[in-house]
């Protein structure tokens, strides 16, 4: 009994740092944002604490629908493209590459993290702009006569986003495939499934946890992306992230807060759906 109590007390102390940290840095800011979102904008960027739902009603103004729509399609396209690019890479590293190559290839996947995302996005600018490496190469080899418009459009945003999020898709899929019991693949072949059917019926379904984790890790940050559209997108390529950033830059904190909370709510909803769809409890013990 005494030991139990002591254990409980110890557990509480061990939890304390996490509780303090989360309270100060997650719960408190959320409460502040919630309060501000219900307030009104005053002159010169001040906030008038006269509570109403004005900001939320303002957020569903058709003016902003285009940004929401662009956000959803860019995030969706980013996720799908990431899956398309990542799956073969993860598959190769997990199931095909010789053991000594695995670690090296994984390091290559992670190397981009050594440089700040902003700097890497600027690097894309140098690649994509009209006198950039790609256009220069295309023109000198005579593929095109004049530079292609690669920068400041949705294409550029998509390129930047897919590039930035790729590791977050490769790694979870890799983990799922790495954990896959290789004998299951042999069993499928033994039962008459060729390589294609083995992939469709065994490899793919068993890598689903990785696909879902990757989708969550890519889609959700993509919803809130603002660096890529800001640097690579044109004036029209505005996403929710830019919208929110603009509000704070223009000192309209209440409206920015309302937009932030709506985005957070949407993300939580999506996460809940993903968890429910993604992990059937029975088969994954």
């Amino acid at each position: 009994m005494a030991i139990e109590q002591r254990k409980n007390r110890l557990a509480r102390w061990l939890l304390a740092p996490a509780v303090v940290w989360l309270t100060l840095l997650l719960v408190a800011p959320l409460v502040i944002v919630l309060v501000v979102s219900l307030a009104m904008r005053g002159p010169y960027g001040t906030t008038i604490y006269h509570f109403n739902l004005h900001n939320y009603l303002h957020a569903i103004d058709p003016l902003y629908l285009r940004a929401y729509w662009r956000t959803i399609w860019i995030a969706t396209a980013t996720t799908l493209l990431c899956i398309a690019v990542s799956y073969p890479v993860a598959y190769h590293i997990a199931l095909r590459a010789p053991a000594r190559w695995k670690r090296i290839l994984l390091v290559f996947v992670v190397i981009p993290f050594w440089t700040s995302f902003v700097i890497r996005t600027y690097a894309w600018k140098l690649l994509l702009f009209s006198e950039g490496i790609i256009n220069t190469a295309l023109m000198s080899s005579g593929v095109t006569g004049e530079p292609l418009k690669l920068l400041y459009n949705d294409f550029a945003v998509l390129v930047g986003q897919v590039y930035g999020e790729l590791p977050f898709m490769i790694l979870p899929i890799y983990v799922a495939l790495e954990r896959l019991d290789k004998r299951l693949l042999e069993a499928a072949q033994d039962l008459g499934a060729n390589r294609f059917w083995t992939f469709v019926k065994v490899t793919l379904p068993l890598s689903r946890p990785g696909l879902i984790a990757g989708t969550v890790l890519v889609f959700i940050p993509s919803l809130g992306a603002f660096i890529t559209p800001d640097l690579l997108g044109g004036a029209k390529s505005i996403m929710i992230g830019n919208l929110i950033q603009n509000q704070f830059a223009q000192l309209n904190k209440p409206f920015g807060s309302a937009l932030s909370l709506m985005l957070t709510a949407a993300v939580l909803l999506l996460l809940a759906v993903a968890l429910k769809v993604g992990f059937k409890s029975r088969e994954l013990a």
């Binding site: 072949q189 033994d190 088969e283």
Partner: protein, 358 residues
Amino acid sequence: MEETYEVEVENVTRRFGDVAAVNSVSLSVRHGEFLTLLGPSGCGKTTLLRMIAGFDTPDEGRVILGGQDVTDVPPYRRNVTTVFQQYALFPHLNVFKNVAFGPERRRIARDEVKRRVRDALEMVRLAGRDESFPNELSGGQQQRVALARALVLEPRVLLLDEPLAALDLKLRKEMQLELKGLQRRLGISFIYVTHDQEEALTMSDRIVVMNAGRIEQVGRAEEIYERPLTEFVAGFIGLSNILQGMVEAMNGEYSMINIGGVIVRVQSNGAKPGEKVKVMVRPEKIRIAGADSDRALAGKIDSVVYLGDSTQLKVMLESGQIITVLEQNREPSSSIHNRIGERVSISWEPESAIILRG
């Protein structure tokens, strides 16, 4: 007319790096035969099985199934199926779908698939668990699903890779009988890999004893046990005593062997007089008598272990070698431990001793 075999393995070699896991092995499996590949771990038995299944390709030699060379044919086009060690059931599919996996890959109507799966599950006495997932089943039940999944395709040959290794002893005994019964009823060939000599002896029509990538001996259970060809086989299956001796003379089907100065009569294997040989005798074939018997090896009882139905004695010969003797306890005995230190002589029937090769 030449008999056609279900499986023929011709001079197959498979190397991993510098090591030949399977070293020029040849083997034929008859129709409806229960053949066991027996050997210690690392002897190449599983590698051999994998090459028959098609998961591995020989570096040299050929694999022939039903008269057709399938050496380079992928596993999904071979008419053999496998029961894997640890079963390798698909964790994301329920029992029904696991068993239906094979039939669904062939162009079979859905009703027919359903009927076959039901039959297969009934055959392994697992009806009514269609909806369960593998992780909800016990080891024995998973084993049955694995069997049903492999048998539903009506293969000509079923390959089994240590299928009972993960089960507890009692269940293992039950499954041994059940597997054997199933094999007889279906009349198909089983190639069964195990390192468990008892399993091999109870189930097999023929046993292939393997060691270090090579076949040591092929034969029926009693041949392997009673007439082992090599010291390895004698030592791997059952208990054995091996004595060094020299051939003194040959006398028809018997050889006279000098073991430590005593001449014993042993079945001949063609070894010439003057040759050094190893003589093997099973412990239960040895008789113990009082000291000073003629033509018997003299020694002293070193230890006695009471085993219930039998008693195991260790007799130290004058040469210092320890011989194990197993005596049936036909009569109630009381004071067995008093026998330690007793001077005895041991002997056996000439037919009971074997001259080992090499």
